[in-house]
């Protein structure tokens, strides 16, 4: 058991190292100079003052150091919990921007991932046993799972927001409101949350339902199900066993899909101008904000790694065979 998790942690550590390196590298390979655009925004006329400002900015962000030193420094500040200062929202620290955005992203991601997984599995299991339900659930699921996140999001924003005007199309809460712990504010928050959440939930739902339906049908044909039927066990018990076994590949699927789901959520946030990480990343790219981009990506990488680790632990709990593999089988 310890060896298993030791190896897992090592792999996660390596992944983290690679991810941070790539995160550091990619923004710096983007064309354009962030300092130049900051100077342009500052509208300084005199060449001397402009030069002084350039030296100041380059020194402030460490761009005057050799690249390897910049790289090592970025690790150093990472371990101190210092994400740097945003270039786009200068002089706000990146950490502040992130802590403002992350709750919105999590509020979208966690419910949509978990709920779509749970509901999709239930729906798929139901479809596997009723012909009528199968004939409706399956085609609808295929359409949903083939839908790109941003397309469904745009469609919903247009339909419910623009045409019907029932839901707001942009923002995390109304512009007329100030964040506070009042009932009105929470209702407003939920109202803005519902459309982006639903679009994420629906697209993910289809895939889980299809997967579960297929695995359940396979499990119901398996030897243990046949044996139970031959011994007259009620369908209820057999279905319960089949569901339990069918959930295992779905858990693996969840681990594999996490990255895709997060990417989908980022795009959805942009469509709805939702103030989460997705919108922040878009702003960072448009403004060549190295530090903000690095920080946002770091959060995503950490989130996906932690979620994967949780799934690893859950898998060991629900599938006895993984535990046997760790301990060595008894004869």
């Amino acid at each position: 058991m310890r060896r298993y998790f030791g190896r897992k942690l090592l792999i996660y550590g390596l992944t983290f190292f690679m991810a941070v390196t790539v995160n550091w590298l990619v923004p710096r390979l983007m064309p354009g100079d962030p300092v130049a655009s900051m100077l342009a925004r500052a509208r300084v006329a005199q060449p001397e003052a402009q030069e002084a400002l350039r030296v100041y900015y380059n020194n402030l962000f460490g761009f005057d150091l050799p690249w390897w030193q910049q790289y090592l420094n970025s690790w150093g500040s990472l371990f101190r919990g210092d994400f740097g200062i945003s270039l786009w929202a200068f002089p706000t620290p990146v950490a502040d921007l992130l802590t403002r955005a992350v709750p919105y992203s999590l509020a979208l991601l966690i419910p949509s991932i978990l709920l779509s997984w749970v509901v999709g599995n239930r729906l798929g299991a139901l479809a596997a046993r009723r012909k009528v339900l199968d004939n409706t659930v399956l085609p609808v699921s295929y359409v949903l799972t083939a839908t790109p996140y941003l397309w469904l999001a745009a469609l919903m924003a247009w339909g419910f927001g623009v045409v019907w005007g029932v839901f707001p199309v942009a923002g995390g809460y109304s512009f007329s409101m100030t964040p506070s712990f009042t009932w009105d504010f929470f209702v407003d928050l939920a109202w803005h949350w519902l459309l982006p959440f639903s679009s994420l939930f629906l697209v993910a739902l289809g895939g889980w339902a299809i997967g579960m339906r297929n695995v359940i049908i396979y499990e119901l044909e398996s030897d243990y199900a046949n044996y139970m039927s031959a011994l007259g066990a009620p369908q209820k018990l057999i279905r319960r066993y089949a569901f339990r076994n069918a959930v295992l590949p779905q858990i693996t699927g969840l681990a594999l899909q996490l990255g895709v789901l997060v990417a989908g959520a980022l795009v959805t946030e942009i469509v709805f101008s939702y103030p989460g990480l997705g919108s922040l990343i878009l702003a960072a790219i448009q403004n060549k904000d190295f530090f903000l981009l690095q920080g946002a990506f770091l959060f995503i990488v950490l989130g996906v790694l932690i979620a994967n680790f949780i799934i690893d632990v859950v898998y060991v709990i629900v599938d006895p065979r993984t535990r046997v593999g760790m301990a060595g089988a008894a004869a």
Binding site: M228, S229, A230, L231, G232, R244, D319, V324
Partner: protein, 314 residues
Amino acid sequence: MTLEVDDLRVYYRTLKGDVQALDGVSFGLRDGEILGLAGESGCGKTTLGKALIRLDGRMKHVGGSVTLDGQVLPIGDDVKMNPYRFKQVSLIPQYSMSAMNPTRKIGRMVRELLESRREKLDLDELHARLDLVELPKDVLGKYPIELSGGMKQRMVMVISTLLNPSLLIADEITSALDVSTQKAVVTTLKGFRDRGFVKSMIFITHDISLTNQLADTIMVMYAGKLAEKAPASTVVNAPKHPYTQLLISSLPEVGVRYADKRLTGIPGNPPSLLDPVPGCRFRDRCPLAFEKCAEDPPPVEVEKDHVVACWKAA
């Protein structure tokens, strides 16, 4: 009589039409009797075994009846058959290795299975029976994956016979085992009968020499019909049906060198059971066939307990 099967017909539905896999088989089984059911692949022996406990989705009960302990079994009705399964008729399947749910501990699975049938789990009895098949008690706290193949087989044998069924169907359970394990399984099954765990048993196999060690009676089937049924020693030593004779003569004998005499087997293949031509189904391969074989040979009791379906034998 424990079991009375009368003119049982079970067909397989296929796109091309019905395959007459079991076409009018009648036989009886006494209390305490072990019947060995033998024949080559596709002769209908597994179909007969399934017909007695659970028809699969493609199978159709066309005619005939099965009576067990004086009650007619509703074999064509999956739901009505349920109360009889496990309690009156039970099955040791071909696939013992994968017959148990991989994500449940065995003890819990057995308990849930019994509860679902409204039966109380008698833990002492279960332990005694595990002891009998030389399984330690702690297998109940293990997952199936933690058991070896032979242990799984024995565990399934214990589970299947836990409610003391009147009839136990053992379907090709020795096919995947090595010879010494086969012997142990046969001994265990005999022990189950002698202790009264099961009243009577149908042992389905293609291995006549193994059947001979276990069965009181051997029934040989050919192409969905009964060919010959007689006490085991009679079938092995003095078979009357030409198919049985060829089947027995194609078995190697221990201690005999086959330098001069080659084992031949039976030339030809069984007929298609999709629209079979009337008459004896063995006649194309039979060395004794004559004109009369164009008519269906009825099973005739040529001497006491010895039934043969052949015009030449009667």
